[in-house]
Symmetry: C3
Amino acid sequence: MNRKVNLLMFSGDFDKAMAALILANTAKEMKLDVTMFFAFWGLFLVRDPASLSTDHKTTYEKMFGMMTPKGIEDLPLSKMNFAGIGKEMLKEMMKDDDTPSLSAFLKGAQNKGVKFYGCKLSMEVMGFKKEEMIPQLEVVDAKTYMEDALESDLQLFI
Amino acid sequence: MNRKVNLLMFSGDFDKAMAALILANTAKEMKLDVTMFFAFWGLFLVRDPASLSTDHKTTYEKMFGMMTPKGIEDLPLSKMNFAGIGKEMLKEMMKDDDTPSLSAFLKGAQNKGVKFYGCKLSMEVMGFKKEEMIPQLEVVDAKTYMEDALESDLQLFI
Amino acid sequence: MNRKVNLLMFSGDFDKAMAALILANTAKEMKLDVTMFFAFWGLFLVRDPASLSTDHKTTYEKMFGMMTPKGIEDLPLSKMNFAGIGKEMLKEMMKDDDTPSLSAFLKGAQNKGVKFYGCKLSMEVMGFKKEEMIPQLEVVDAKTYMEDALESDLQLFI
């Protein structure tokens, strides 16, 4: 049986998403199985910017959908307190260094067969519909996450 | 031997507490053993709002006790940078969706027999007394946490 | 074979660094093997304040180096939203309680033989050179981290 990595994606931060996707891509290149479970703010990583909709949503859900990041490139940095370091500066430094963009890492994970799980309860609370997410996303409950995590050799809360 | 989950509760955030308590309740329903170890800001989750006191505390400890969240419903959100999303909005969306409150999830974890550990060093630094915490809380050192975590099948830092 | 702990140090926060270094020191006292892998903001923990340089850096890298924490005592707190609690207050409370300083915990980890890994990609993006870091730091790629983590009995993302 393959060794297995399970990443619980809680935060919707650009930099943490970057770290997690680099780990996921690396693990797949090492022939490991990888599951990413997106809950709460983590769901912002797997919204499909081209498929967003306001149909069948409450007023709060519509506001929430409009005010929050519309996709992975739209995520904020986790750090506000390192004076003056913005996402643009980090992106510029990554470009100088030929590091791929965050979308490229996400696309890589999709192509390499990372398993994408979305937390059912979080999606209901936030009013996100399956059709608004990347096509690979499977909507599951916390029990399914737990079973997958317990079988894994490395589990992280990110 | 039962499979076992160990959650190190470091952050004192409303949303992370919610995620962790949903995992803890789910794990208990799956007949897993669950330990939650509360350190640093995580201790705010297990203060008992009805038992707080300022006896035998230094000035800093008194100030600290007064200025910080007095119990689980008092916790802030981890995210300040998704423009305009406040805790009230999230709570409203949870209510629309019939999701139980954070206190209900904590009560559930207490009733289901989750093991509650409090970090001795953190409690000393913050000036929190055992009598001010929920009755289930056992005060232990980092070595006890480590032994419990090493025996577990899933460990997360939250 | 020794039981093993692997800590992925992502955040550059004073309080999380404290928690992680207490765990690392405790684990070494229990005769466990410990690896700390420093990536992104976590690299701020292992900059050597006495060895910083601006040689062979781009303008962004120079700015980044100057604007960010110059060593472990320079790190900010993870929490900005507990009204009025600053790092100085926490340090004062630790002093009242005879808790060692963060530098002392780092020195302890260095002396006890914790393995220090620095993320190659993060160092390149941030423009940090090996000579600017603590001497124990070995620069490795994500694959090396992954192998070490998979062999460990406890892995945390901090």
